[in-house]
Every structure is written in structure tokens, then in C-alpha cells.
Amino acid sequence: MENNIIIDLKNISVAFGDNQVLKNLNLYIRDGEFITLLGPSGCGKTTTLRIIAGFTAPDEGQVYFEGKLINNVPPYKRHVNTVFQRYALFSHLNVYENVAFGLRNKRMKEKEIRETVKQMLELVNLKGFERRHINSLSGGQQQRVAIARALAVNPRVLLLDEPLGALDLKLRKDMQNELKNIQQRLGITFIYVTHDQEEALSMSDTIVVMNNGIIQQIGTPKDIYNEPKNAFVADFIGESNIVDGIMRDDFVVDFSGHRFDCLDKGFAKDEAVDVVVRPEDVDVVPLEKGMLKGTVTSVVFKGVHYEMIVDIGGFKWMIQSTDEQQEGDKIGLYIEPDAIHIMKKSEYSGMFGDYSSFSEEYDELSNAEEPEEADGEEG
């Protein structure tokens, strides 16, 4: 395992003025994996990427590339290339020259350049666009040029800073697939930064969830979704009902006034814990058969399912079900043991997972994309 680590960040700390952006971050990245840094704006994910690229120097800590310390290696000598958030294409050059830019810096022969540019444009489905002017391209096409430009120089690691953020939903989905394909075909390491949890889940081999400059959890998409480490991760990735519980014994937990069987163990007897139940894992059953009983307070039709807020003893749960219920209905809820996930108490306990103040609009706003730390950079 140890020998295929391509990038190793050790004890990295960065502050812009009073703003501590990264706090003692440790992260290693394996060669050839698709790793995603996921978190809300200001969590330090872009800064981490910029440290790997060499645009930002860490205040403390070491950056290793294939075991060699590269803290003092300037960006133009690193074997990593970046796809920038707003493309950063050279508007004074056409598509061909943009892709050839890095190759010319390598003093490659004109014939080889022509060959490589052709290959790259084919790779990103932009055949025949060589002579087009950058400003005449759509956002998606510009994004493809940016990817081709970065890949043309044959980097060991490609850094992608929210590359799909500016594209519309449909195009974003297509590009997600395409990026994943390109990564698999070339077999190089992709380090991908995004605040979009769904994007992270569908593309990554490994997800690194960050908040406030600290890594909250590292794992595969399945791990992150099914076994979140704390309330922050559970809330940020997908929807979660997070309630206080008490672990009575291995495989037995009490919450919401009921005793449940679960699959978790290794907690102290009667330890206070956070219990996560995903909205789609709760079955709606007739009142008398329910383990929990509650009142439906709102119903929203989402296409594939109905999204309901259910009041259970004063705590608002989100439940997703394909059966329609009416507001005010009293329903029973059934939770299987494997739908229950137990987490140790953390600093985030009690901050998330209650849907009493839930509104779609608010959710959208808090996820809205903001230019990350970039402002704090220069002073």
C-alpha cells in the first residue's frame, strides 16, 4: 500500500490573516485514484488543492510528491496540472494554441504537438474545433478545452477545482460521466474539489469530507453515506434524521422512546450517541404496526417519491415514501436494524438532523456556491 502513494500532505496548516483555513491537515492520495475533496464553501478544500498545485504555500507542514518534499518546488516544475473553476483559458489564443500551450513550454517538436493536440481534442469530444476562438465557445466547450489543455502535458495528477460548477444540471451530469471515463482511460490520479455531495458520490473512489479546515471523514462513497462519522458528515451527505439515543448494549439502542435492534456495537453500556436514520430507509406502516408513531406535517411531491415531514414526539423527521399521505395523517413508522447507524457524540451533535426549521429554499441558499478562500489570499 505504502509505495503507491503519490501525494502526501503532512501536518498542513494555513492561515490568511486571522482566518485559519487549514488546521493540521494530514492526507495521502494513492496513485490512480479519483479522490474528491467535499465540503461547504470556506472549508479549505480549494486551499488544499492550491497547496498541491503550488499556488499557495502552507504556513506549516510538508507536501510530498512520490516521497520527495516539494514545498519549495514552483508550480511550473510540478507534475500536477489544474483545471480551474472559471476555466482560465487564454483568450488571446485559439483552441489549438490553448491545448498546445503547455507542450510548447516543454519545447516539444511541432509534429508531436500537432499529434497530441489532436488526441486531446478527440478525448474531450472537440474534434474540428482547433481554429475556433475561445470566446466563441459555450461554457461546456470551454470546460473541455481546459481539461484537454491540462491533460495534454501528460500530468501524473490532475487537479480539478469545481470544474462543473458553472454548467447547467444536464450538462453537468454528462460531464461527470465523461470525466470519470477519461480518468479511467488514462489511469491518472484525479483530485476533484466540489461542494456538490451528489457529484462526489457518483464519481469518486475516495471522498474526503472537510469542514472548517479539518478533515471530518475519509472513505469510499458507500462508507461516507452509510457510516458517517459524525452529525456534520451525515447531514452534509444526503438527508439525515439525527436523533439522540442511548446505547443499551451491543446491537440495542433506545431513541424516540422506543428500543430498536441495530447492527452497531463497541459502545460503552448506556453511552449517549447520535442515531442516524436516512429518510428513504423508514417504512411507512399502518399506525398500529408502527414502532414509532407520528403526524404528517407537510408533504412535497418529488417525482420519484413523496417527501414528508413527520412530527414524532416533537422532533421533526424527514421521510421519503412512494405512498402518498395527507397532511395531518397519523402514521406508523417501521425501521429495520440495518437502517440505523450509530455515531459517537461529537462537536456537531445537536446541530443537524432536525427538520423542524426545514425549508427547501434555505437548503438551496446554504449550499449556494461562493468563491472560496480566494479573497482572503492576497490580503
Binding site: 499556488f55 511550473y76 496540472n81 489544474t82 487564454f90 483568450s91 488571446h92
Partner: protein, 275 residues
């Protein structure tokens, strides 16, 4: 709908149309008219033909204009670059430093340089105190060009600075990322992308340099008459207005040709338009 909007547009435009007709188009027509008529109003080519007498002046004007434009560019580009890459607060301070001389009257600025450069002026007095023999500076081509550079430098700095502040910093990072060291970033990215600012700076310095007057009279001691000075002299001399008009027209055509060349040059490498 369409018609009413266009009527509205016309109404809104009319003051500007009237203004430019009265104060731009009409004077131009007069200049052309006077260029081709004699003092009695008869058509003639004599004014235009008599311009050959001013060949030296014309060449000197263009030469001085080119030299001061180049000096302005060489000085202004690094200043603009440094300004654009400074913190907001220091950018404002530097901007004021650049603008400050422009708040002072043009004639007074030129007079100040006279006081500084004279054989018995401030600089030579100071040099004398240091035991260095006086340097003759006033009434040399250098003094005239110095005056031009001093007066027109802000017009070079401002457009370049304004283009540079709009450059996305991630473009520079992208260039570094793709293997450019600092020098290559400048050569392959910053300079090409700042060309629209350079072109408009060149135009804004070259045009007033070529047509300037007064600077050469005061700092050149009358030995380096430029087109502007000649035009002034011709208009102040009775019966010479028509020759003055012809020279003005010639100067305008000269400037138009220079600008056309500049724009052509900028179009071939840029899509950013100037002026």
C-alpha cells in the same frame, strides 16, 4: 413598438447629434474648406503644396512623438504592472500619485520644468553645490521630450493599468501550471493579454505628442519647432490662416494613418478594440 422606440432613441440622441454637428463636423469642414481656398475664397492647391516647406518640422514632430511614446511605454508598463498587483490601498495611493500632476495646469507644469532645467536653474544650482560643473539641459531635444513624457505619461499608465486589473489572476496561475516561469508568464500571457491597453495608451500618448505645442517653445527655446507650434504661429500671422488650416488637415490625416496602422496591428493579434 419598434417605431416608437426608435423615435424615442432619436429624440434622446438629438442633443448629441446637434452638438457634434456644430462643434465637431462643422469645424472639420471649415478646416478642409480653408485648406483648399486662398484668402479671397478661391479654390487652390497652393496651401497644401506650400507644406513642403515644413518637411523638417513634420519629420521632427513625428520623431519626437515616437521617441516620447516609446519612453512613456517603457516607463508606464512596469508601473501599471506593479500598480495592478499591489494591495487595494496602495493601488489608490499610486493612482493619486499618477493623477496628481494632471491636476496642475499644463502651462505651469511646463514652466516648472524650465525652472528646474535652466543653466542657472534648480538642478544646476544643486549640482554646483556638489562641485559638479553645470549641465546644459534646457533648449535641447532631450528637454522637449522630457516635457512630453512628463505630461503624457498618465495617459499611458491608465489604460494599461485598467486592462491589467481586469486580468483574471487564475490565467497567470494557469500559465505557471502549464510550465511557464515568471518571465514566460509575462511574455506569453500578460503582455499579449494587455495589448489592448498598450495600443490605446500608445494612441493616447502619440496623438497629443505629435500635435503638441508650447512644450517645445518653452523647453526647446524655439529651436525645435513642432507642427503644433507652426500651426499656432500661422494662425497668429495675418493672411496665413489658410496654410495653417492645410497643415492642421495634414496633421489630422497623419494621425488617422498612424491610428489605422495601430488598429490593424492590434486586430491581427487581438480581438479587443481600441478607441
Amino acid at each position: 413598438m419598434n417605431k416608437s422606440t426608435s423615435l424615442k432613441t432619436k429624440l434622446l440622441n438629438s442633443p448629441y447629434i446637434v452638438w457634434s454637428a456644430l462643434f465637431v463636423i462643422a469645424p472639420l469642414i471649415f478646416v478642409v474648406y480653408y485648406s483648399f481656398t486662398d484668402i479671397d475664397g478661391n479654390f487652390t492647391f497652393e496651401n497644401v503644396l506650400s507644406l513642403t516647406a515644413y518637411t523638417d518640422t513634420i519629420i521632427r514632430s513625428v520623431w519626437f512623438g515616437v521617441v516620447s511614446t516609446i519612453i512613456c511605454l517603457v516607463i508606464a508598463y512596469p508601473i501599471a504592472y506593479i500598480m495592478a498587483h499591489s494591495k487595494a490601498a496602495s493601488q489608490r495611493t499610486m493612482m493619486i500619485m499618477v493623477m496628481l500632476p494632471m491636476w496642475m495646469n499644463f502651462l505651469i507644469r511646463t514652466y516648472c520644468w524650465m525652472v528646474l532645467l535652466q543653466d542657472t536653474g534648480i538642478i544646476n544650482t544643486f549640482l554646483g553645490k556638489l562641485g559638479i560643473s553645470p549641465v546644459h539641459m534646457i533648449n535641447t531635444p532631450g528637454a522637449v521630450i522630457l516635457g512630453m513624457v512628463y505630461d503624457f505619461l498618465p495617459f499611458m499608465i491608465l489604460p494599461i493599468y485598467s486592462v491589467m486589473t481586469k486580468l483574471d489572476p487564475s490565467i497567470v496561475e494557469a500559465a505557471q501550471d502549464l510550465g511557464c516561469n515568471r518571465f514566460a508568464v509575462l511574455r506569453k500571457c500578460v503582455i499579449p493579454l494587455s495589448m489592448p491597453g498598450v495600443i490605446s495608451g500608445i494612441t493616447m500618448v502619440f496623438v497629443p505628442s505629435v500635435s503638441t505645442f508650447y512644450i517645445s517653445q518653452k523647453l526647446g527655446g524655439g529651436s525645435f519647432e513642432l507642427i503644433g507650434d507652426v500651426i499656432e504661429r500661422l494662425y497668429l500671422t495675418p493672411n496665413q490662416n489658410n496654410v495653417g488650416a492645410a497643415l492642421s488637415m495634414f496633421l489630422m490625416i497623419l494621425i488617422l494613418i498612424c491610428m489605422a496602422i495601430m488598429n490593424k496591428f492590434s486586430n491581427s493579434s487581438e480581438e479587443g478594440m481600441v478607441i
